[in-house]
């Protein structure tokens, strides 16, 4: 009796007045509510057949309560129509109860299934659920996984069901053998090598999985053909392939290939190029007549990407031709030769109109915009786009992998393009909380570093989230204490663009350190002792554009004040005051591509540090001066050179090579070598607090801390006063284990050598103490970089009993942000 609205003629839709609506097929649901949801009202006009009926069905379906919805007409009386909504109401899923697999696996599966609770249980739900689970295990090599599903009513809620899912993943399938047929030019071994993720169960296949994974296998079939074609066999095909069961746990793979014969490049002609001459393009293409034909190579040379960006597309894309396109047309194929005509579409010269940053939810616009090298008015340049992306990631506030520049709004008639930089903020603050032994006592450290601080908002309560953020400034506060005997507090603030006009780096730091083993005695008591060191420093730095724009010049002025009261023999005198006022100039060039795991680039630093030459004008007779007089104002000059290079060897394997040199000199032979700012070599390179004279601590793994003393000297690790010349070389191979936003872990193997000398006259760069070893570094965003190394030193050091034995070294926060240890 009821008819579908489709039975009305679509040729002649008519307006009706709704006379009444009924609902049928419901179980638990309220009919009036369903009518409301259908958005049909008694008395409304409705045009049928038309959009109205589709709309009703759509809004009913959106509820996710029904397996089927129909809108029928029960009767028509003149222009009044009576409608019926027929639904097929289904029970809803209250939860999935998965059995047959481990808890961890259940969690993985749940994640992939999303949340299906509340959905209606129909065949579709059963099919998708079982499909997702099967696919999940197939990818892991369980090809015979079965999934059995039984819905049962939920005792808690009558209209709901619980779905029992019983998973049996069966055994893992591995590959017994891979055989090829039809190959002559390519050996079995070579073809097998082309299959990266499909490997046989052989002892020599140490790396990579031997499991059979359908999706990887399908990818590999594709690459197999591509690799054959890349070697000149442009007709190569995979004719057929079979995967057959060998036994319960393994399969045999058979592949039949067609090789065809080898082709070579013939004549190459160019057309459509106006901006660059054919001669120029031929030079850049680097493919000439007679070379083995490879579409892959041709594609790379024409459209990139090439590692050194010297392909044809880079030439165009770095000079504004954003819509450049090259179409190599094979004009003639004869015998084994392919003639090409490369048809180039240059398109107009594109100039950047707008630069837009999106996704900066914490960091203010100016911090991002001022680092971007693609500016309005410039021709489009892909290389600058990539460099900007890299430099944005070096700000430390954004996820490196997710920073994505994209040209949009490409307007060929005006020749303009907008560039959108999509960034994703990441947490950049660090907490250092550690306890450790130093100088025979327990030392606790609490450090906080805010890498995206905003000083101007410090009194703006609204900006606290939980601290004022977003101006790219850095604030770090650190406190270290072992209770009453030692305390150290330090503070650093830095601003990368002082004044906001030019990238002038400014930093202000201050510290105070107190050390005493007898401060609780009265001042008059002879057991009373106290040491306080206060320091303050200012640094100004400027990025240079010459010789290239990776250079930076820094000046710092530091003022250190030592105040001792009956402090014993640790210092040069036991009661008195010393001042160390120094000016440092540092010229550096840093082109490394990432702060934590650099893969390419170099970091070179040349430093000169000097104090005023007090001995020229302070009228102190240094021949008879007491230490208190001699070291009231310390004087010296210091020269340092540090260089680090990073190279990617193969894949992700990186070689870091490093050279370091340092020299400390004096102005006046009567004053002699300064006891301050000397170099101490050996060990983990961690800065340690008990050395008062600002010694510079240089790591040399494989030897105990500070144990590398000059040859022939009577010093050892515990009484080493430091040396005035040092030299160190390092070679380190690094390979990442995890490189993600939340953690970076890499393993390393090193060989290094270094030595110290008592004066420049004895310096011999080839006489070094050598060591080799292995280690690991872990970077966690809130903890910084942690390192553990095991080193073996080859050379004996007189007085050091454990030289020539293995040493473990633990380190925190080294080699970050231009550190050299």
């Amino acid at each position: 009796k009821s008819l579908s609205p489709d039975s009305l003629s679509y040729l002649n839709p008519k307006d009706y007045i709704i006379g009444g609506i009924t609902v049928s097929g419901t179980k638990a649901l309220d009919k009036d509510v369903l009518i409301q949801i259908s958005k049909l009202n008694k008395g409304d006009r409705i045009n049928l057949p038309g959009e109205a009926n589709a709309r009703v069905i759509k809004s009913m379906y959106e509820q996710g309560l029904f397996d089927d919805v129909q809108l029928n007409i029960t009767s028509i009386n003149m222009d009044t129509i009576y409608l019926e909504i027929v639904v097929d109401e289904r029970p809803r899923l209250s939860r999935l109860h998965i059995t047959g697999i481990r808890k961890g696996e259940i969690e993985d599966v749940q994640k992939k299934l999303n949340d299906k609770t509340g959905k209606i249980v129909n065949q579709n739900l059963l099919n998708t659920t079982s499909g997702i689970i099967k696919r999940h295990f197939n990818e892991k090599g369980y090809l015979n996984t079965t999934v059995d599903m039984k819905p049962k009513p939920d005792p808690a809620d009558s209209n709901n069901v619980i779905l029992d899912v019983i998973v049996d993943k069966k055994t893992k399938i591995k590959i017994n053998s891979i055989t090829f047929e039809g190959n002559e030019a390519f050996s079995q071994k070579k073809l097998k090598g082309f299959l990266k993720n499909t490997r046989t169960k052989k002892f020599y296949n140490i790396f990579g999985s031997k499991k059979f994974k359908q999706d990887k296998y399908d990818e590999d079939k594709q690459t197999l053909v591509e690799k054959m074609q890349a070697e000149g066999y442009r007709d190569a095909q995979l004719v057929s392939d079979t995967v057959s069961k060998h036994d319960e746990k393994t399969v045999d793979v058979k592949m039949k290939v067609f090789e065809g014969h080898k082709y070579y490049f013939g004549n190459i002609t160019w057309s459509g190029n106006a901006k660059y001459s054919t001669a120029d393009l031929v030079k850049i293409l680097r493919i000439s007549k007679g070379d083995v034909f490879s579409e892959e190579e041709l594609g790379k040379r024409l459209s990139g990407p090439t590692p050194s960006n010297d392909d044809v597309s880079s030439l165009y894309l770095n000079n504004g031709y954003l819509t450049y396109n090259a179409d190599p047309v094979q004009t003639r194929i004869y015998n084994d030769t392919v003639d090409l005509d490369i048809r180039i579409t240059e398109g107009p010269l594109y100039t950047i109109s707008k630069v837009i940053v999106k996704g900066n939810d914490v960091t203010n616009d100016k911090v991002v915009y001022r680092e971007i090298r693609t500016k309005p008015g410039q021709p489009f340049n892909k290389e600058l786009l990539i460099r900007s992306t890299r430099e944005l990631s070096q700000l430390g506030s954004f996820d490196e992998q997710k920073t994505e520049p994209r040209p949009t709004n490409i307007n060929p008639s005006e020749g303009t393009v907008d560039i959108v930089y999509n960034v994703v903020e990441k947490p950049s603050d660090q907490i250092e909380l550690s306890g450790g032994f130093g100088g025979g006592q327990l030392v606790g450290t609490l450090g906080l570093t805010f890498n995206n601080f905003s000083l101007r908002n410090i009194f703006n309560l609204k900006a606290y989230r939980p601290l004022p953020k977003g101006d790219g400034q850095k604030l770090s506060i650190r406190g270290q204490s072992s209770g009453r005997t030692y305390q150290n507090f330090s503070f650093t603030f830095s601003e990368p663009w002082l004044g906001g006009k030019k990238p002038i780096f400014f930093s202000l730091s201050a510290y105070t350190q107190g050390s005493s083993t007898g401060q609780y005695f009265a001042k008059t008591d002879r057991r009373y002792n106290n040491l306080r060191i206060n320091g303050i420093g200012v640094t100004l730095g400027k990025r240079l554009n010459w010789p290239d724009n990776y250079f930076q010049l820094n000046y710092s002025l530091n003022f250190d004040h030592y105040n001792l009261d009956n402090y014993g023999s640790a210092y040069l005198f036991s009661t008195g005051t010393s001042y160390n006022i120094k000016l440092t100039q540092e010229l550096s060039r840093n082109s490394i591509d990432a702060p934590i795991y650099p893969t390419t680039g170099s970091n070179i630093k040349f430093t000169i540090q000097a104090t005023p030459p007090y001995s020229l004008f302070n009228n102190t007779n240094y021949r008879i001066a007491t230490p208190e007089e001699r070291y009231k104002f310390v004087e010296y000059h210091k020269w340092k050179f540090d260089a680090q290079w990073f190279q990617t060897l193969t894949g992700k394997l990186v070689l870091m090579s490093q050279v370091r040199f340092g020299f400390l000199g004096y102005y006046n032979s009567k004053v002699g070598q300064s006891p301050f700012e000397r170099f101490k070599l050996g060990g983990d390179g961690m800065q340690s607090y008990q050395f008062l004279q600002g010694s510079e601590i240089i790591g040399l793994r494989g030897y105990q801390n500070f144990s590398v003393v000059p040859v022939g000297s009577g010093y050892n690790a515990s009484n080493n006063p430091g040396s005035v010349v040092f030299n160190k070389y390092t070679l380190e191979l690094r390979h990442p284990v995890i490189a993600s936003q939340s953690a970076t872990i890499f393993l390393l193997a090193f060989a290094e050598g270094g030595n110290t000398w008592n004066n420049f006259g004895e310096y011999n760069p080839f006489n070094v103490r050598r060591s080799v070893g292995v280690g690991a570094r872990i970077f966690l965003p809130i903890f910084g970089l942690l390192g553990l190394d095991y080193g073996y030193g080859f050379d004996r050091i007189p007085g050091a009993s454990d030289a020539g034995k293995g040493q473990f070294h633990f380190s925190i926060s080294q080699s970050l942000n231009g550190g050299f240890n």
Partner: protein, 288 residues
């Protein structure tokens, strides 16, 4: 031993949960109310009380200041119950939540654009609503924010000495916000930026760039005759004219001296190949 609330949560008595949830809501204990509403919303779907329940649920999110969830639920309410008396209110609230989620202008403005869209949709759907006036006011606030952003970012290029970028960026701001309150200031800054751009360029490029600065200056003088910047703009114009004379003299000298000309041409070609614009690294402070 479970608390009373935990027991209630674990029970299957939906009707009691419903009553308690409303009670918590009225007592402003939104945390507990939200927990109960979250359980109840799927259970009551398609039933009579669902509408009321969902309305409370959306408001609970709003009161908890979770504007992202709240706007979603307000919108869902308005989509599901278009004939409800509350749908107008919820449509407005959905847009208002976007408004509240719009950050200061120096951060990403995605929510600002979405708020404008949602408020505009509200005005289109309910042109006669009492809330139209407020919605229009909110839209104006948001547009002002986008305008401030565009102005500030253009000005940044001037501050950091990227004069060509500043000129283009300011012109884009004028095109995107034709009725901007910064019009006078922007046009003045365009003159300034173009003058500095020309002044910091190689002599070979100066004539063209100074001419453009003079054009911008003339335009400004015509449009804003009463401006407080008028004196400065006239000075820029005069200096530009002097600059053209200087550049022309230089060029004549250069042509006479073939070696210098060749050098200039080399410089220029190097410049257009490497990173443009061809701006010399002169100290901009000197010309200010």
């Amino acid at each position: 031993c479970k608390s009373k609330f935990e027991k209630l949560k674990a029970s299957n008595d939906n009707a009691r949960k419903y009553k308690e949830a409303i009670r918590y809501y009225n007592k402003k204990d939104y945390g507990k109310a939200l927990e109960l509403f979250e359980i109840l919303v799927p259970r009551y779907r398609g039933q009579e009380q669902a509408e009321d329940l969902y309305y409370y649920y959306a408001y609970t999110n709003y009161k908890m200041r979770d504007y992202t969830s709240a706007r979603y639920h307000f919108k869902t309410f308005a989509d599901t119950y278009p004939s409800s008396t509350r749908s107008e209110e919820c449509r407005f609230m959905a847009a208002y939540c976007y408004y509240l989620d719009s950050p200061i202008f120096s951060l990403d403005q995605e929510n600002t654009s979405k708020a404008i869209e949602a408020l505009q949709l509200f005005i289109n759907l309910y042109p006669k609503s009492d809330r139209v006036a407020e919605a229009s006011k909110l839209i104006q606030n948001l547009r002002d924010k986008l305008e401030d952003k565009s102005y500030a970012n253009s000005k940044l290029y001037l501050t950091i000495g990227d004069y060509q970028a500043a000129v283009i960026s300011f012109n884009n701001t004028l095109r995107d916000y034709p009725d901007t309150k910064y019009a006078e200031e922007i046009e003045y800054l365009i003159v300034k930026a173009q003058y500095l751009f020309a002044n910091n360029s190689y002599e070979t490029k100066q004539e063209e760039r100074y001419t453009s600065a003079i054009e911008f200056a003339d335009e400004f003088i015509e449009k804003f005759a009463q401006s407080k910047y008028i004196k400065t703009v006239q000075d820029y114009k005069k200096d530009s004219e002097a600059g053209i004379v200087h550049a022309k003299n230089w060029m004549t000298q250069a042509t006479l001296n073939m070696k210098a000309a060749k050098k200039a041409a080399e410089k220029d070609s190097v410049n257009s190949q490497s990173t443009p614009p061809s701006v010399k690294d002169k100290n901009p402070e000197l010309v200010n």
